[in-house]
């Protein structure tokens, strides 16, 4: 029982230890304001990481999410600001487009047995290219709906705020947890990651599941894009470059095995928060360059991958 949850427990321990270190150095880390900001600043990363967790659990990878986030921002900015489309209608439209985009990638991956890496790499270039077709400028979004939505917040004692976008992220994680651990779809995702051939022999609907996984990932990337546009109030073609890699890092630090089959959604949440924590620490510290975040993440990622290797080797030995 303990062994099964060991990776998540280790991630959690790393987060708690990290938080303690921050707290010892900067007592204001205890304030609800810092905690609220931690959630808000990482909301888009958290949302897209939920989708990525499903993809990686099934033994795949989705490199297109960063581009889909950028495309979503640009699409919203152009349709709302240039064509005066109702923002809510634009949200629905972009979520639908992204869903179809993901379904298409899933279809290609399954039908032609092409590695997900290649298909989503093509998807990444495609979505990024489409941004530039729409516009090459950074377009600010000034629609009144944006102001209304960003004003929604749940006030915490001590001056902190859980913003609307933080709530969207927490809700996404809640739905993700239910989907992964309490539905047939979730079991099928784990089955695909465990052994694709066996899963097929046991009657798991491989095609349907694959398509749905990538559809979910792109859908959540678009949702993250919407959240990102609340956060920045703009759409820009070069936004969110490299986010796919941050996301993968968060998922792996969260205890999900990169080869698929093992991992949890809740672990991903902790993985995202660890990344946020490092970022916040560096902001507090003030003298360090923000690139130190990358170095810290790199070191953590390396440590976690080695740890997972060690754990799976140990579990093989004790059999």
């Amino acid at each position: 029982m303990i062994r099964r949850h060991l990776p998540v427990l280790i991630t959690l321990a790393v987060f708690i230890v990290g938080y303690m270190i921050c707290l010892a150095q900067f007592p204001s880390f205890a304030s609800t304001r810092v905690i609220g900001n931690l959630l808000t600043d990482n909301a888009f990363l958290g949302i897209v990481a939920v989708g990525m967790t499903f993809v990686i659990l099934s033994g795949g990878i989705d490199l297109s999410v960063g581009s889909v986030i950028a495309f979503t921002g640009v699409f919203l900015a152009v349709t709302i600001e240039k064509y005066g489309l109702n923002p809510y209608l634009a949200f629905i439209l972009v979520l639908g487009i992204a869903g179809l985009f993901g379904a298409g990638m899933g279809f290609l991956i399954h039908t032609f047995q092409i590695p997900a890496f290649i298909v989503t790499l093509a998807g990444m270039f495609l979505a990024r290219g489409l941004c530039f077709v729409l516009t090459t400028d950074s377009i600010p979004i000034n629609a009144p709906a944006y102001g209304q939505i960003t004003d929604i917040a749940f006030r915490l004692p001590g001056g902190g705020r859980v913003t609307f976008i933080a709530m969207v992220m927490l809700l996404t994680f809640a739905v993700g947890i239910v989907l992964a651990h309490f539905t047939r779809f979730g079991a099928n995702v784990y089955a695909l990651g465990g052994n694709r051939t066996s899963a097929e022999l046991m009657g798991v609907p491989v095609r349907k599941t694959t398509i749905r996984i990538y559809m979910l990932s792109s859908f959540l990337a678009a949702l993250a894009g919407i959240v990102f546009s609340f956060y920045t109030s703009a759409g820009y073609s070069l936004a969110a470059t490299g986010v796919e890699l941050d996301t993968i890092a968060a998922v792996v630090i969260g205890g999900t095995l990169l080869t698929g089959g093992y991992g949890t959604i809740i672990g991903t949440l902790v993985g995202v928060l660890i990344q946020g924590l490092i970022q916040t620490y560096i902001t507090f510290e003030g003298t360090l360059s923000s690139w130190w975040t990358k170095i810290a993440i790199g070191a953590l990622l390396f440590a976690f991958i080695v740890l997972q290797r060690g754990l799976s080797a140990a579990s093989l030995r004790t059999r």
Binding site: F182, R184, A187, G194, N195, M202, G261
Partner: protein, 540 residues
């Protein structure tokens, strides 16, 4: 002499087939009479699975040639045969992996044709493979219920699923925590889970493909208890195995295939072991076809010796000694532990008991590198995948082991390479236009000779040959045998594995006979004959 023996054999086969057919048609009419009288007087259980004239060919090989097979309700039916007999093709056609060319398959009197294994399962044919085809990362309960989990409002009722799994496995005498991932349990438990799943998915026919290959004796006993229980519930079980003891322990009836043809189908109670072995090997007890007159008794200190050498689940501990200038043969059925012995001796598998000696001094052989350093050589059974590197030239293949021994940094000069290659091409009479031809283009016999050359170039003291004559033509066959004898005269110690009993009897000074992963007897002197080998394989 040999010719006569094979003619007689052919006659026997035909007679067997006729008998079987007659018996089957007889039992068929019995059954119909019984149903007319509405009195189930027939002692035989009703037919469950009926295969007639099943034929399946692949380019260049007829894998199944008009094979008949009948499985009754509540019967454990052993399916036996050596390599290439067609057992796995039969199973794959039955479970929809391959499409058949001709023939009928009937389940409960209905013609069936499975599209794929999942479809076969839904028709009522469940298969459990040696390598368990389940999902190690999912819980035991999920493995049992995936695709049909109990659910409410779209959510899986995990508690309910676990309770039902616990109950299901309790029926097999298994009390484990079903919430744990499958990978936490042994292969034996995983196999029981696979069986439970297949049976619970309304399997009427259960196919077990070498289920006992990686189990220990106690686990095998547990498995057999389960099989007998399933049998009493009317399920028909097809049991593929190489272990004769297990066949006699659990099977009611056996069917033997050889080279894609049906050899015969008999109730096990009426079948003496020696007859079963002769059905499998396609050889009758007969006067010796080939005699080797001067079988020398090699004396002196053994070059290599193994004491209590073995590995759990792979091979029982054995003693083995080979002297310089001696050929020791390893004989036994497929899966009896011949190749396993070679792999232990050469360090491909690491022994977990016993000690190896070279020149009387204890040595450690943990990897093939260790073995090569002790100047051992090994030509594997599967030439194509484990031996030759098809794209490389004959020269490159020949110098491979020598180069590896020197280390990759000290490249053998090109001129020296050519000298070595030319020398062995002449010495072993390897027929190739030149040393630079890719080895994949050579015939099997010449590839085998090049492989031998590869090890001879390292000047080995002890050479292990696994099936050196498989798949090569008659002429090359004789040459390889002559080569073996010549090597032995040069003072090399040889360990040779072969399924050809006459062949192994002809060149071996001693023969170790294996059965069910044990070295059961060592034959020497005048005992070394194909007949004694065969009776020893059969045992009792």
């Amino acid at each position: 002499m040999r010719r006569q023996a094979s003619d007689r054999l052919l006659f026997c086969l035909k007679r067997d087939q006729r008998r079987v057919r007659k018996r089957m048609s007889a039992s068929g009419s019995d059954a119909s009479k019984a149903s007319e009288d509405e009195m189930p007087v027939s002692t035989e259980q009703p037919q469950l699975l009926e295969i007639r004239g099943l034929t399946k060919g692949f380019p260049g090989v007829q894998a199944l040639d008009h094979v008949d097979f009948t499985l009754h309700e509540g019967e454990i039916h052993g399916l036996l045969g050596e390599n290439g007999a067609g057992k796995s093709t039969l199973i794959k056609v039955l479970t929809g992996v391959f499409k058949r060319d001709a023939g009928t398959i009937r389940l409960d009197g209905q013609d069936i044709e499975a599209r794929d294994p999942a479809d076969a399962l839904s028709l009522g044919i469940g298969t459990v493979y040696q390598e368990v085809n389940l999902l190690p990362n999912l819980s035991v309960a999920e493995n049992l219920f995936i695709g049909r989990q109990p659910h409410r409002f779209g959510l899986v009722r995990t508690g309910e699923m676990r309770r039902r799994s616990q109950e299901l496995l309790a029926g097999y005498g298994l009390d484990i925590d079903v919430a744990n991932p499958l990978s936490a349990y042994s292969v034996a438990v995983q196999q029981i889970v696979a069986i439970a799943r297949a049976v619970d998915l309304s399997a009427k026919v259960l196919i077990l493909d070498e289920p006992t290959a990686s189990l220990d004796a106690q686990e095998v006993e547990t498995l057999f208890r389960i099989l007998r229980d399933l049998k009493s519930r009317g399920i028909g079980i097809v049991f593929v195995t190489h272990f004769l003891d297990q066949v006699y322990a659990v099977c009611d009836r056996i069917t033997v295939l050889r080279n894609g043809r049906l050899v015969g189908s008999r109730p096990i109670a009426e079948l003496p072991r020696i007859e079963l072995v002769s059905m499998m090997l396609g050889r009758e007890l007969a006067a010796e076809a080939l005699h080797r007159n001067q079988r020398k008794a090699v004396t002196g200190e053994p070059l290599v010796a193994f004491k209590d050498y073995g590995k759990r689940r792979l091979l029982e501990p054995f003693d083995l000694a080979v002297r310089p200038g001696e050929v020791v043969g390893l004989a036994g059925l497929l899966g009896s532990g011949r190749t396993e012995t070679a792999k232990l001796v050469f360090g491909i598998e690491r022994a977990d008991s016993g000690q190896a000696f070279v020149d009387g001094k204890p040595v450690r052989i943990a990897t093939p590198r260790d073995a090569a350093r002790l100047r051992f050589g090994f030509t594997p059974e599967d030439r194509k995948t484990e031996g030759i590197v098809a794209e490389l030239s004959v020269r490159e293949n020949i110098i491979l082991a020598l180069q590896a021994q020197r280390g990759w940094l000290r490249l053998i000069p090109r001129r020296r390479q050519e000298e070595i290659a030319d020398r062995f091409i002449k010495l072993l009479d390897i027929r190739t236009p030149d040393a630079e031809k890719p080895i994949g283009l050579l015939s099997g016999g010449n590839q085998q000779k090049a492989l031998l050359a590869r090890w001879l170039a390292t000047e080995p003291r002890f050479l292990i040959l696994d099936e050196p004559t498989r798949g090569i033509d008659v002429g090359a066959h004789a040459e390889i045998i002559r080569l073996i004898e010549r090597l032995c005269e040069d003072g090399l110690a040889l360990l040779v594995i072969s399924s050809e009993l006459e062949e192994i009897a002809s060149y071996s000074d001693r023969v170790v006979v294996l059965r069910d992963r044990r070295h059961v007897r060592e034959l020497s002197g005048s005992d070394v004959s194909a007949n004694t080998i065969m009776t020893t394989i059969a045992g009792h």
